[in-house]
């Protein structure tokens, strides 16, 4: 059984983060959170969350939904099944977020700017502190 309240809360968190990151420029934390939340849900709710979040990212970043779904799907697969290559969950999650965000920026037709690096570092710091509290495998 799925807890509706928790699922909706996750959806709202993702929407809020995507909105903030639209203003900032790169959706790293959004992709990171989507991968993390999806890995903890069963199949139906996982793909539901992925589809809904993908729709929000696609509409805000002006990319086609199919491309966003490919990015989210690959990030999720890498995070969930990349243990053989990188043991640390945290590193896998950060790699998924960074690569996914770069892909979104490039697909939306923008040039990579070095100021995005500040955002990437802040997200890494925030996720490190956030996940450490939840006894995550760092």
């Amino acid at each position: 059984m799925i807890d509706w309240g928790r699922w909706l809360l996750r959806v709202l968190i993702v929407i809020l983060v995507v909105l903030v990151e639209r203003v900032v420029g790169i959706p790293m934390l959004s992709i990171l959170l989507i991968s993390l939340f999806c890995s903890r849900l069963n199949k139906f709710w996982c793909y539901g969350l992925m589809l809904f979040s993908g729709l929000v990212i696609a509409s805000l970043f002006m990319i086609s939904l199919s491309k966003v779904m490919i990015i989210l799907g690959l990030s999720f697969l890498w995070f969930k099944h990349g243990r053989g290559l990188v043991a640390s969950q945290f590193v896998r999650l950060v790699i998924a977020g960074v690569l996914g965000a770069i892909a979104v920026v490039i697909l939306s037709g923008a040039l990579w700017q070095w100021k995005y690096l500040v955002h990437v570092l802040i997200v890494i710091l925030v996720s490190f502190l956030g996940l450490k509290r939840h006894k995550f495998n760092l």
Binding site: L55, L60, M62, S108
Partner: protein, 256 residues
């Protein structure tokens, strides 16, 4: 291990199926109304968030500017006196123009439509107007009467702006006050007036305006010459253009 591999392939299959379904939805035109509706509903929130981001960024921008405040005030004073002189000259020209128009009885003026928009993103510079407001790619984006970029990717209710410093693919024809012509292009960080003949005279402080081309009106202010780059080995001259307004400091823009 085998179980893990099987689980990976199962999930990979589900994702591929989902992507194919979404692709079909896009092809059939089912996705577009959904994204348009989401764009529309998210716009007020994005405008407020952008405004908040600007307010948060203001102290940083203020500190950055204060380093060169004294020189900037001197430059502005010089500009102000120059502007006053220009205004008096223009007033005379305007009066003369009105008299001529009156004589010719041509009251019709061709004014292109100006669409006022607000900033919705600073990271990927974007404004809150799109196809629904009649915007098309390549239109001029102005801040305080200064050309700061061109529209690039357009969706139903928003447009991405290619700022002049990042405009590496779409050259803009421009000339200085003294009539030296060149091409304005960005190198990722700076705005350059390039392809200027070696023997042309460029002066620091000169204003650079557009000559006019498809979708870009003539006489739009781009900025001032900040520095002239004249390498002995180069066949052309270049100049770095400074803009007195920035996309990151104005909440309201005009799309022409």
């Amino acid at each position: 291990m085998l179980n893990n591999r099987s689980s990976f392939f199962t999930e990979f299959f589900y994702i591929i199926t989902l992507v194919v379904v979404v692709f079909l939805g896009e092809w059939l035109g089912v996705v577009r109304p959904l994204t348009s509706a989401l764009e529309r509903f998210s716009q007020p929130v994005l405008i407020r968030m952008s405004h908040l981001a600007m307010v948060i960024n203001q102290p940083v921008a203020y500190v950055q500017k204060s380093f060169h405040a004294a020189r900037r005030v001197q430059d502005l004073e010089k500009e102000y006196s120059y502007a006053l002189a220009t205004i008096s000259r223009l007033e005379y020209v305007e009066q003369e123009n009105q008299e001529l128009r009156h004589l010719l009885e041509t009251q019709e003026r061709h004014k292109s439509a100006i669409v006022v928009s607000r900033v919705i993103s600073y990271g990927l510079p974007s404004v809150s107007v799109g196809q629904a407001e009649g915007i098309s790619p390549g239109q001029s984006v102005l801040a305080s009467q200064t050309l700061i970029g061109l529209t690039k990717i357009i969706s139903t209710h928003q447009s991405q702006v290619n700022l002049l410093a990042q405009n590496v693919t779409n050259p803009i024809l421009a000339k200085t006050e003294s009539g030296v012509e060149g091409i304005v292009i960005g190198d990722g960080k700076r705005i350059l007036l390039t392809e200027v003949p070696k023997d042309a005279e460029l002066t620091v402080g000169e204003r650079v305006v557009t000559i006019g081309q498809e979708l870009i009106q003539p006489r739009l202010l781009i900025g001032q010459v900040k520095e002239v780059i004249d390498r002995p080995s180069a066949p052309i001259k270049q100049a770095i253009i400074e803009q007195l307004v920035s996309f990151y400091e104005v909440p309201i823009l005009e799309v022409l």
